[in-house]
């Protein structure tokens, strides 16, 4: 975190989310305008984690074989010719899928198995991907001509969709002052693979208390219109709510958030911190939402504000506050 904050200025919260994604072994979709540092972020993470890092620039003519790899005819040392599998760039630890929405649906769907199963199946042979395996995809919300929006099934495989906002004037001033020609400083500390695996093992020991898991379940149920605790905006604007995979994602991300906070258990605040990036690409809004310029982030924020975390259901005239 410290290294990331030092190299990429003014994006602490973003860095935290990306790290949570990595610790949760999830894939992250980075969405933002060009020049906001998406690629720089991914490259820096690769450098800090000392993991194998590859980048694919998705274009409309990119073929699945270009991503997954292909069989080529090769002559062996004995003079015999055989088909040899040439791994694609997906065989790496950290894959930057730059402008993923510019690839054709055929190529995009080639990523489905890799993201969910962490393996590649070609010609009946399934090859596992090196572990850990993360996809950090980026897409541009403008310049949508010639793009293929990611289908819901593929969006659901991303743990987070992280929105890149513009940085404020102070940060811009620091960038101009400290980053000559935009060159990033190299990290002065790197995480060894063993340390990363230790973190993964620690993740397994983070305890998710029953009230918190219950809260996550209620939260996800409340995103479904007509649900018991669905709010009025949910009923009004959402066509389909989040899937059980979203609930699992929230729980895992909350664990990672608790780990980053140095705690052995998940609290409600961990859940609240990760809910928005987990749910904001999983809620399918209706046309009414478009008319009213309503988006998923606003709906999730409204839901988090309305839903009582503990389910105590205190009367409205009773107020609780810290001493």
């Amino acid at each position: 975190m410290e290294q990331l904050d030092r190299i990429l200025l003014g994006r602490q919260e973003l860095h935290r989310l990306v790290l949570i994604g990595i610790l949760s072994r999830g894939h992250v979709l980075l969405e933002g305008l060009p020049g906001l540092g998406k690629t720089a972020l991914v490259r820096t993470i690769g450098q800090i984690l000392k993991l194998d890092f590859k980048r694919i620039q998705f274009t409309p003519d990119l073929m699945p074989g270009d991503v997954l790899g292909t069989h080529i005819l090769q002559e062996t040392s004995s003079g015999k010719r055989e088909l040899t599998f040439q791994p694609g760039p997906v065989f790496t630890n950290i894959l930057l899928a730059d402008e993923i929405n510019r690839a054709s649906p055929k190529t995009q769907s080639a990523m489905l198995e890799t993201m969910q199963e962490n393996s590649v199946t070609l010609l009946g042979t399934t090859r596992p991907l090196p572990q850990p395996f993360f996809v950090l995809a980026s897409q541009n919300p403008i310049e949508l001509e010639g793009t293929y929006p990611l289908p819901e099934a593929q969006l659901d495989r991303f743990l987070f969709r992280v929105l890149f906002d513009n940085v404020d004037t102070e940060v811009l001033d620091r960038i101009i002052s400290e980053r000559r020609r935009g060159e990033l400083p190299t990290p002065n500390w790197q995480m060894e693979r063993g340390q990363l695996e230790t973190l993964f093992r620690t993740m397994e020991r983070i305890y998710l208390p029953r009230p918190v898991s219950r809260y996550i379940a209620r939260l996800v149920s409340a995103t479904h219109p007509g649900g018991a605790e669905a709010t009025e905006p949910v009923n009004r604007y959402i066509s389909y709510g989040a899937s059980p995979r979203a609930a699992i994602a929230i729980a895992e991300a909350a664990r990672a958030h608790a780990l980053l906070a140095g705690r052995p258990s998940v609290g409600f605040e961990d859940v609240k911190a990760v809910t928005a990036p987990v749910l904001n690409h999983r809620l399918i809004l209706n046309y009414q939402a478009r008319f009213d310029r309503m988006n998923a982030s606003k709906l999730v924020a409204e839901l988090l504000g309305r839903l009582d975390e503990t389910g105590l259901n205190l009367p409205k005239d009773v107020e609780l506050a810290t001493a």
Binding site: P209, P211, A258, G267, F268, L320, A321, T322
Partner: protein
């Protein structure tokens, strides 16, 4: 030893529970005060004025509040929920919640200082309702008795009516028109009505009073009618007795005297003074010796008759004073008590020979009989002729002939020919009357109707 956070958590749970109990208790007290206030109001309106018992009833909220407390206790949130709430409020990050699986005391040392979360109850509205309900109950309890009796036990203003009826009954009793026992019953009934009369059901009281009034009036009217008849009889008898006395002075024959005495006896017997409601009395020695009464005895008889008449007149007058009979009946009675002119009858008795009918002549007095129609009577238009119970004589009309019984004599499109032999139109009062001579049959057709009439009678063929 419990950790500070555990102690704070226990404190928080206790305070939450206490607040729930207090809140439920106040709600129940509010509800009970409203209900009991209504009960008090209803009870006081319906006549229960023992406010001590009603005031004690307000303590009924105690068991209700206890029941509400027990209910709240059973509905108390699970401990893990309250612990989760504490964890969230204290930003413990799930460490306290993790105590459900392992001892987290060591981790709790890293948390911020323990303190029970602050519970704040916005009780303004609840307290306002409690105050309103308590005030309502207090007002219901302390309301002056006269206000609570306003609608229910307000007695009817029937005192004067009852007094009037009691006076009537008393008069009827004194005049022996109503028997003593019945009069006492009526008096008792009137007293009871006066005591029990209520604004709740005035119709019942008024109906009972009307019934008594009608019974009094009927009895009085019956007595007055009887008095009128008896006074007429007595007046005729008195007239005859006076005529007899005068005729005796003028030398009435023995036969006429005997016959007149018999007529007088029959008159007195017909009067039946001893019978009926208003019974009078004539000395028996006078009645026994009617055939041979001398002048002195005749005077005594006349005095007795006068006395009975006066008694009857006084009774009728008393009834009229109480308005039990109408003034017309009183006037009739007074007129009936006026003695006719006995001079003509005395003249008749002294002069008539060969069997004169004194009784018949006496009955004709004032009706064109002896004396030329009695004393002159004033001509007044005060009293209209009553049309009560007057009915026209009913005549059943003959049944109308049914159309099927009609006889067809012919069909013609032209106007009916009335000049035939079958029709006899010569029996009417207007027979042979000229149509142009102002006959009753002539019908004037107004100018604006002429065209319509012409069109109606117009025939194409």
């Amino acid at each position: 030893m419990k950790s500070p956070h555990s102690q704070a958590l226990q404190s928080f749970v206790r305070r939450l529970m206490l607040l729930s109990l207090l809140r439920a208790g106040i709600q129940m007290a509010t509800l009970w005060f409203f209900i009991w206030g209504v009960v008090i109001l209803m009870a006081r309106i319906s006549g229960v004025q023992q406010t001590e018992w009603l005031a004690l009833g307000m303590l009924g909220f105690v068991p209700l509040a206890m029941a509400a407390g027990l209910r709240e206790r059973s509905r108390q949130p699970a401990f893990d929920k309250m612990r989760a709430c504490y964890d969230r409020l204290q930003a413990c990050g799930g460490i306290l919640m993790s105590e459900e699986v392992s001892d987290m005391t060591a981790w709790q040392a890293h948390l911020s200082a323990a303190s029970a979360p602050r519970l704040r109850w916005h009780s303004g509205q609840a307290m306002l309702w409690l105050g309103v309900s308590a005030l309502f109950m207090a007002v219901a309890l302390l309301l002056p008795e006269r206000l609570t009796r306003l609608s229910s036990h307000r007695p009817l203003e029937i005192g004067r009516t009852v007094d009037q009826l009691q006076a009537e009954v008393q008069t009827l009793q004194q005049e022996k028109i109503v028997e003593d026992k019945k009069a006492e019953d009526l008096q008792q009934q009137l007293s009871q009505l006066k005591q029990d009369s209520s604004g709740f059901d005035p119709n019942k009281t008024w109906e009972a009073l009307d019934h008594i009034k009608e019974a009094n009036s009927d009895a009085a009217k019956q007595a007055a009618e009887e008095a009128l008849t008896k006074m007429r009889e007595l007046t005729q008898a008195e007239t005859l007795a006076r005529a007899m006395a005068q005729a005796a002075d003028k030398g009435m024959s023995e036969a006429n005297a005997t016959e007149s005495a018999q007529d007088l006896a029959s008159m007195l017997n017909a009067a039946k003074l001893e019978n009926g409601i208003l019974n009078g009395q004539i000395p028996p020695e006078l009645l026994a010796g009617l055939n041979g009464l001398n002048k002195e005895q005749l005077e005594k008889l006349m005095q007795a008759l006068e006395l009975n008449k006066n008694s009857l007149g006084l009774t009728v007058s008393n009834l009229a004073n109480l308005k039990l009979i109408d003034p017309a009946l009183l006037s009739k009675c007074q007129n009936a008590g006026q003695c006719h002119n006995p001079n003509a009858l005395a003249e008749y008795l002294s002069t008539c020979t060969n069997g004169c009918d004194a009784l018949a002549e006496c009955l004709l007095l004032g009706k064109g009989g002896p004396g030329g129609g009695g004393p002159p009577a004033p001509m007044t238009w005060d009293n209209d002729t009553s049309e009560k119970d007057v009915k026209f004589q009913e005549h059943a009309l003959p049944p109308a002939a049914h159309l099927s019984d009609a006889q067809l004599v012919g069909v013609s499109k032209a106007a009916p020919d009335l000049s035939g032999n079958d029709v006899n139109a010569g029996n009417g009062a207007l027979d042979n009357a000229a149509a142009s001579g102002g006959s009753a049959h002539s019908q004037v057709i107004l100018p604006e109707h002429r065209q319509a009439v012409r069109n109606f009678f117009k025939r194409d063929n």
